[in-house]
């Protein structure tokens, strides 16, 4: 008997050991994208510190920056957007999130409202195989992190019809065990909970500048979809869920370069909001972003576009939501820390960026003061895209006033001022963080730019760089210390350094 008990105990211990090691392997091998995105959500939800949940697709991921929202308004938020998330996936994302946190407000983007197939793997109603594969692939980003429970089973039953696919989501080791070839140090760190994580509260910023948007044919004013779609059904469910739980809900249509159907979808979302009596912020209309410079690509915003969109939502929340500004609250130091980190990284990104378009766009966010100088005869003056970008940053049309230059713009966020001069015009004693500055064009390759108290230092002339026709002087917006002085050649419109 004693021997039998001994054997039974050994067997149990053996099985426990095997399962413990396999569990560790499961964690190490799991693709970390989902955990990476939501790790902070769980931590912050534990502290009940999330005021606003942003829901939607990649349009939300790239359009809403919680670090900007906190920095400017003191509101705490988490960007729950999922790449390629249809509204049914967004609905279940909300349901999963509500298990951990009940926010004051939910802000849901209504993009892809027109999609009218229930299951993400519905090959009959959606013949685009690559779209299905992408949807399924991207659904892992949204779903992998949530633990296996009744709600997750319900979600998968609602989102996916193929049994094998469902199983992959419920027991993701089936999918990820073959990641052994790609595991990194971070994968092992995740076993003890020290994996790297998204430090932008779920958001992701992009920095490219799409300069050739597609201009679609506008539908008739107020045109909406004639028939109910699955997307509409799930937007309604999201609104109802929030209303049932007494969570404020704001529906948005984040700005991007829309097609005709997107404009109709935006109108339809408005109609749904009217029916439910919930607020709606349609940012496709109006001038929240500049479509020629705030896009990273036709579908997604760059960091400058995200900054503008986040501020637009922040303004709305400030006016309507009754949220508390947490910026002076010690308990919210982590938000302060990560918000500052974003701006630190933005500044690093600006200095390391090679593309003049991207750099100027990022500079327009206002983390540095800068001086842009274009020499007489520069190709800038025949480059409509660059001129538009400069106009967008300066907020004036001075760049258009001269056919051949020269042109100078001083953008000083410290004093919230932009100074410009073109052609023969000069700037006298303008107040900047660098001091009181003077600009005087002299001849084609020579101009003066100096501080009133230090006339000997001409910032915009260097014999070694006579050939370069564009100069960018970047300075600390508070101290005026010059941080970088870059020279570009506009030849061929490439703006090479």
């Amino acid at each position: 008997m004693k021997r039998k008990i001994n054997i039974a105990l050994k067997c149990i211990f053996f099985i426990i050991t095997v399962f413990a090691i396999l569990y560790g392997a499961t964690i190490a091998l799991r693709r970390k994208d989902s955990l990476y995105k939501y790790a902070d959500f769980f931590e912050l939800a534990k502290k009940d510190q999330i005021d606003v949940l942003f829901l939607g697709s990649s349009h939300t991921i790239n359009a809403v920056n919680p670090a900007v929202l906190y920095n400017n308004y003191g509101y705490t938020s988490y960007n729950m957007g999922g790449h390629g998330s249809l509204l049914q996936a967004t609905y279940w994302e909300l349901m999963e999130a509500l298990q951990y946190e009940t926010p004051e407000w939910v802000v849901v983007d209504a993009y892809m409202l027109e999609k009218n197939y229930r299951y993400l793997d519905d090959r009959e109603n959606n013949p685009d195989a690559s779209e299905i594969n992408t949807s399924i692939e991207q659904l892992h980003l949204n779903m992998d992190v949530w633990p296996l429970n009744k709600l997750k089973v319900e979600a998968m039953n609602d989102l996916v019809q193929d049994k094998d696919l469902k199983r992959e989501f419920l027991f993701d080791f089936i999918v990820y065990h073959n990641r052994w070839e790609y595991i990194t140090e971070d994968d092992f760190k995740s076993i003890v909970g020290h994996e790297s994580k998204n430090e932008l509260f779920g958001a992701e910023m992009r920095y490219d500048v799409e300069t050739a948007p597609y201009i679609c044919q506008r539908p008739e004013d107020g045109e909406t979809f004639a028939d109910q779609t699955v997307g509409m059904e799930y937007l309604a469910k999201i609104i109802e869920e929030c209303q049932n739980r007494e969570i404020g809900v704001l529906v948005t249509f984040n700005p991007f370069n829309p097609e005709t159907k997107d404009i109709i979808a935006a109108n339809t979302a408005g109609a749904i909001c009217d029916a439910y009596g919930v607020p709606y912020l349609n940012m496709l209309d109006g001038d929240v972003i500049d479509i020629y410079s705030d896009l990273n690509d036709r579908g997604h915003l760059n960091a400058a576009g995200a900054d503008k969109t986040t501020r637009a939502i922040g303004d709305w929340l400030k006016a309507n939501a009754g949220l508390v500004d947490h910026r002076d609250d010690e308990a919210y130091a982590y938000w302060e820390k990560l918000s500052n980190k974003y701006y630190d990284e933005l500044r690093e990104k600006i200095l390391s960026e090679d593309s003049l378009f991207t750099k100027l766009k990022a500079l327009s966010i206002g983390e540095y003061g800068f001086v842009l100088y274009c020499n007489e005869g520069s190709q800038v003056f025949t480059d409509e895209v660059m001129k538009h970008l400069i106009k967008e940053i300066s907020g004036s049309k001075v760049i258009y006033e001269t056919p051949i230059g020269p042109y100078i713009m001083i953008c000083d966020p410290g004093f919230n001022k932009v100074y410009e001069a073109s052609g023969d015009a000069a700037l006298d004693n303008v107040e900047t963080a660098m001091g009181f500055m003077n600009y005087q064009p002299v001849e084609e390759n020579f101009r003066l730019f100096y501080e009133t108290d230090d006339e000997d230092t001409n910032y915009l002339y260097d014999e070694d760089h006579v050939a370069e026709d564009v100069q960018l002087l970047i300075y600390d917006k508070n101290t005026g210390e010059v941080i970088d002085h870059e020279y570009y050649t506009s030849k061929g419109g490439n703006y090479g350094r």
């Binding site: 053996f14 050991t17 095997v18 090691i21 396999l22 392997a25 091998l29 992959e168 089936i174 052994w180």
Partner: protein
């Protein structure tokens, strides 16, 4: 239900646990229930055919015992009936195709929409062996229908063997040995080795092999890729089938039943004849005992011996599949042996002339390498979809492109660098284990002699490696065991 399915992972513990609890006397009933349940998952049609075959074999056995004077007729009728089942479900369409070919189209190539019942070729051979044993008087007919049904349908064996003898199995069903902890551990370790072979090595090799064999243009596979694919397939089929056999034998052992070995380091054989004494032993010994010897074996002169060899290997080829590729594969092996035997005097002379030590290491290595090469190239016919494809692959393998072995081109056939190296490491491991096995060392038994901690480390590592590195789940089209299709 496949051994590599989740359903089996649930089924097996239940089968083992209840088998452990059930009194020895009734254990065979439980094993029959589990075997029939296992087989029922193959479909109701397949199950009906199994039951009909078992009933006919049971009845024929009793009749053979009762009417000794008419035994030949009874045996013939029973064999015709059961082999007829095999013919209809496995060979009818092939036969119609041959008729169409030999009549030059005068007879239409009719195709019947027939399914191949799971394990049909295997259990028909087991049943035939039993009937012949009863006919010869080597054993008494089994009177307990459940016992005979269990022999035919025993679930660890029914899918792809080993093709056991009734004398060995029924005796064990009647007097099962106690399933103690040592037996359990031994069986479990053997199963684990089988799963490792199948999931980690064979399935990985299959990715490369399938990519090369399914490439329709020669250009992309000329030279090294084709050669490596032939080499990989040689190991894939062995490791796949050996993996299955280890699982099968391991499962049976856990259930208290000892099943014969199917492999004895076959690729270390120094002749084709020796290869067949080491490869798929349960089939080759079956063919020897129930076909080659009754045909006269080597007792009726040299020419007749050669004819008998060719017949046996043609049957062996045809048994594996209803396709000309299998027939050619079988005939090739027959031809290898006939030529080998015919050339024996000449080979002996050369050995004498050059004073080569017959038992020297170098001579043995050369013989092993030559045998391995002959077997490898014969496998191409076994794997290819058609004779034309086989010739194409073989021709491709003779192109001289050794640079492809080192310029990373081999990673372009479905296996990344890591997976390719892992596959090669798997082959090396199998060769090492076979070398030990060749010398009579059973590594599994040596592991079981070690202290608990070392045993545990080995077993846990084996489980984790198999689960993590195994080719299973989405992204991979995991095939069932190759021999299951026969």
């Amino acid at each position: 239900m496949s051994f590599i399915s989740f359903a089996f992972m649930v089924f097996l513990p239940i089968a083992v646990l209840v088998n452990f609890i059930v009194p020895k006397k009734y254990r065979y009933i439980w094993l029959l229930i589990t075997s029939l349940a296992f087989y029922a998952t193959a479909g109701i049609g397949a199950a009906i055919i199994l039951v009909i075959s078992m009933a006919s074999v049971y009845a024929a056995g009793l009749l053979l015992d009762k009417y000794r004077d008419r035994a030949k007729e009874i045996l013939t009728a029973a064999l015709v009936f059961n082999i007829g089942i095999l013919f209809v479900f496995k060979y009818l369409n092939f036969f119609m195709r041959i008729l169409g070919l030999v009549s030059f189209g005068a007879l239409p190539d009719i195709h019947f929409n027939l399914f191949l019942p799971l394990g049909l070729s295997f259990y028909i051979l087991k049943s035939a062996g039993y009937l012949i044993d009863v006919y010869r008087g080597d054993m008494k007919a089994e009177r307990n229908p459940a016992m005979l049904a269990l022999f035919v349908s025993f679930f660890p064996q029914i899918v792809a063997g080993p093709i056991e003898r009734a004398g060995n199995m029924i005796k064990q069903f009647k007097e099962p040995v106690p399933v103690d902890f040592d037996r359990f551990r031994n069986g479990l370790l053997q199963m684990l080795w089988g799963y490792f072979l199948k999931l980690v090595v064979a399935e990985r090799l299959a990715i490369f092999v399938n990519t090369v064999f399914d490439t329709e243009t020669e250009l992309g596979i000329n030279g090294s890729p084709a050669l490596v694919a032939i080499l990989f397939y040689t190991f894939q089929i062995y490791i796949d089938f050996a993996g299955y056999s280890h699982i099968s034998i391991g499962v049976a052992r856990i259930l208290g039943i000892d099943v014969m070995k199917n492999f004895e380091s076959p690729y270390l054989a120094m002749s084709i004849a020796e290869f067949w004494r080491r490869w798929h032993i349960s089939l080759s010994s079956w063919l020897r005992d129930y076909l080659y010897i009754p045909l006269g074996g080597n007792r009726k002169g040299t020419i007749r011996k050669y004819i008998n060899i060719m017949i046996v290997f043609a049957v062996s080829g045809l048994w594996h599949g209803a396709n000309f590729t299998f027939v050619v594969w079988g005939l090739l092996h027959g031809l290898y042996q006939v030529i080998g035997k015919a050339l024996t005097p000449a080979r002996d002379k050369i050995i004498e002339l050059f004073n080569i030590g017959r038992y020297s290491f170098s001579h043995r290595v050369v013989k092993t390498a030559v045998t391995f090469s002959l077997v490898s190239y014969a496998w191409v016919f076994f794997r290819a979809d058609s004779l034309g494809d086989a010739v194409r692959i073989i021709r491709s393998s003779f192109f001289f492109t050794p640079w492809k072995l080192v310029d990373k081109s081999l990673y372009g056939y479905g296996l990344s660098r890591g997976n390719f190296l892992l596959a090669v490491a798997g082959i090396v491991l199998v060769v090492i284990v076979d070398l030990y096995n060749y010398r009579g060392v059973v590594i599994r038994e040596n592991i079981l002699k070690q202290g608990m901690w070392l045993r545990w480390i080995i077993m846990i590592t084996g489980i984790v490696v198999t689960v993590v590195l195994g080719i299973w789940g989405p992204g991979y089209n995991v095939a069932d065991f190759i021999y299951k299709q026969f």
